[in-house]
C-alpha cells in the first residue's frame, strides 16, 4: 500500500528530474560541440535562421500589438487615469513593454511557432529512423542538427525582441490615443525612463529564452517515440516544458536584474 502510494507520487517526479538532467547534458554537449572545430553547421544555421524569421514575424506582430494595446495600454491607462497621471503611461511602457511583455510574448511565439516546428521536424526524422542512419554514417546529429538550431534560435529570439518592443510601443501609442491624450507626454516619460540596463537586460533575457526553447525542442524531438501519437505528444510536452521554463527563468532573471541594478526600478 505504502509502496504503491510512493510509486505513484515519486515515479513521475523521478521521470521529470531525469528528463531535466538529460536536457542539461544536451545543453553541455551542444555548447562544447558548437565551439570545437570543425564547423560544418553554417548552411543549416542560415537556413534555420531564415525559417524562423519567415515563420514568426506575422504571429509576433499581431500578438504584440494586441497584447500591449490591451493589457498594459488600456488597463494601466485606466489605473493612471484614476490618478490623473495618464502622461506616466510612457514610463510604464518601459517597465511593461521593454522589461516584461516584449520578451515574454517573443518567447511564447518562438516557443509556440518555432519550437513546435523544430520538435515536429526532428521528431519526424527520429520516427523515420533518419537520425540513427546519420549516426551510422558517422554524422554527429548534435553538431549538425542541434547546434545550428540552438544558435539560430538564440540570435533570432534576441533580435525579435527588439522588433516586439517596437510593436509594443506602437500598441501603447494606440492606447494613449484611445484615451484622447496627447502623445508628447507619452514619449517624454518613455524616453526619460528608458535606461541602458533595461534594454540589454531585455535582449540577454530573450537570448536565454531562445536557448531554453532550442534545447527543450531538440531534446523532445530527438527522443520522440511511439506510433502515430509519438510526435504529436512530443510537441505537446515540449511546449508545456518550454512555457514553464520560460516563466520560471523570467522570474529569476528579473529579480536578479532589479536587485543588481536598483536604479532601473525607480520610475522617474
Amino acid at each position: 500500500m505504502v509502496r504503491a502510494v510512493a510509486d505513484r507520487a515519486f515515479l513521475p517526479t523521478k521521470g521529470l528530474l531525469q528528463q531535466v538532467g538529460e536536457m542539461m547534458i544536451l545543453t553541455g554537449k551542444t555548447l562544447v560541440s558548437a565551439v570545437r572545430p570543425p564547423y560544418p553547421y553554417g548552411n543549416e544555421f542560415v537556413q534555420q535562421f531564415l525559417f524562423m524569421l519567415r515563420l514568426c514575424w506575422l504571429p509576433l506582430t499581431v500578438s504584440m500589438l494586441a497584447v500591449s494595446y490591451g493589457a498594459p495600454g488600456l488597463q494601466a491607462g485606466n489605473f493612471l487615469v484614476l490618478f490623473g497621471a495618464i502622461d506616466r503611461l510612457g514610463g510604464f511602457f518601459v517597465l511593461a513593454s521593454i522589461r516584461e511583455f516584449a520578451p515574454n510574448v517573443t518567447a511564447i511565439i518562438l516557443a509556440g511557432v518555432g519550437g513546435t516546428a523544430i520538435t515536429a521536424d526532428l521528431g519526424a526524422r527520429k520516427i523515420r529512423e533518419e537520425l540513427d542512419a546519420l549516426q551510422v554514417l558517422g554524422v554527429d546529429p548534435i553538431k549538425n542538427l542541434v547546434v545550428p538550431r540552438f544558435l539560430a534560435l538564440m540570435i533570432v529570439t534576441g533580435l525579435f525582441n527588439l522588433y516586439a518592443i517596437c510593436f509594443g510601443i506602437t500598441g501603447g501609442v494606440l492606447a494613449t490615443l484611445s484615451f484622447d491624450a496627447p502623445l508628447g507626454p507619452f514619449f517624454a516619460t518613455l524616453l526619460n525612463n528608458a535606461s541602458i540596463p533595461d534594454l540589454w537586460g531585455s535582449v540577454v533575457k530573450t537570448t536565454m529564452f531562445g536557448a531554453i526553447i532550442a534545447v527543450v525542442s531538440c531534446y523532445k524531438g530527438m527522443t520522440a517515440s511511439g506510433g502515430a501519437e509519438g510526435v504529436g505528444r512530443a510537441v505537446n510536452q515540449a511546449v508545456v516544458i518550454e512555457f514553464l521554463g520560460i516563466f520560471a527563468f523570467n522570474y529569476v532573471f528579473t529579480q536578479t536584474l532589479l536587485a543588481t541594478h536598483p536604479e532601473i526600478s525607480v520610475i522617474k
Binding site: S63, Q75, V113, G227, G232, F243, Q255, L258, S265
Partner: protein, 209 residues
C-alpha cells in the same frame, strides 16, 4: 496566404458544425465521455496552470508595487495587482497553458485516432460542452468569459487540426505544430478584444471619485 485563408474558412465551417451538434442536444448521448474528458483535463492540466499562474502573479505583484510607488500611491499596489491578475494575466496564463497542454494534446490524440482510422465520424462536441458546464461579481465574470472564449477557440482549433490530420506520424506532429501557431495568435487577439469590450477606456474602480 491563400492556404491560411482557406484553412481559416475550414475551421469556421468545422466550428459551426460542432456548435450545432452541441446545441441540438445530441452531445448528451456522449455524456459519459464528456465527463471522462473533463476529468482527464482537470487532473492533467490543473497543476501546470496553477504553476504558471503563480509565477506570473509574482511577477505582476513585484512590478505593480514598484509602479504604484512611482505614482505616489504605494498603498494602491493591491489595486494594480488585482487588475493585472484578474483582468489580464490570469486569462492569458490560462489561455497559454490551455493552448500548450490541452490544444496540442487534443491534436495529438485525435490526430492519432484519425491516422489509425479509429474515428470516421466522432463528435468533437463532447470536448466543447464541458467548458460551458463548468463555468457558472462583474470583473470575475468578465475574466471567466475571456478565459472561456479562449478555451473555446483553442479547443475548436485543436479539434479541427486533429480531425484533419493526415500523413502518418509525421502528419500528426506537423498538425500539432500548426495548431499551436494559430492558437498563440488567437489567444492574444481574444484577450485584446475582451479587454476592449469589457473595460475599454473606462476604469470603473473605487478610487478617488
Amino acid at each position: 496566404m491563400i492556404g491560411w485563408t482557406a484553412s481559416f474558412g475550414e475551421i469556421i465551417k468545422f466550428s459551426t458544425r460542432v456548435v450545432v451538434d452541441v446545441f441540438d442536444g445530441r452531445v448528451f448521448r456522449f455524456f459519459g465521455e464528456t465527463l471522462r474528458q473533463a476529468g482527464i483535463l482537470i487532473l492533467g492540466s490543473a497543476i501546470v496552470i496553477w504553476g504558471l499562474a503563480f509565477i506570473l502573479g509574482l511577477q505582476c505583484g513585484i512590478e505593480g508595487a514598484y509602479f504604484s510607488r512611482s505614482v505616489g500611491a504605494p498603498s494602491n499596489a493591491g489595486t494594480f495587482a488585482a487588475w493585472c491578475d484578474l483582468r489580464e494575466i490570469m486569462p492569458y496564463a490560462f489561455g497559454y497553458m490551455m493552448s500548450a497542454k490541452v490544444g496540442t494534446g487534443l491534436v495529438a490524440e485525435i490526430g492519432a485516432m484519425r491516422i489509425s482510422d479509429e474515428i470516421a465520424e466522432v463528435s468533437a462536441g463532447g470536448y466543447f460542452v464541458i467548458f460551458w458546464m463548468f463555468q457558472n461579481p462583474p470583473d470575475l465574470l468578465f475574466s471567466l468569459i475571456k478565459g472561456m472564449a479562449m478555451a473555446t477557440v483553442i479547443v475548436l482549433v485543436g479539434c479541427y487540426y486533429g480531425y484533419t490530420a493526415s500523413g502518418g506520424p509525421v502528419g500528426v506532429g506537423t498538425a500539432t505544430a500548426k495548431s499551436m501557431v494559430l492558437n498563440t495568435v488567437l489567444v492574444h487577439v481574444v484577450g485584446m478584444l475582451g479587454t476592449q469590450i469589457f473595460w475599454g477606456s473606462n476604469p470603473r474602480a473605487p478610487i478617488g471619485g
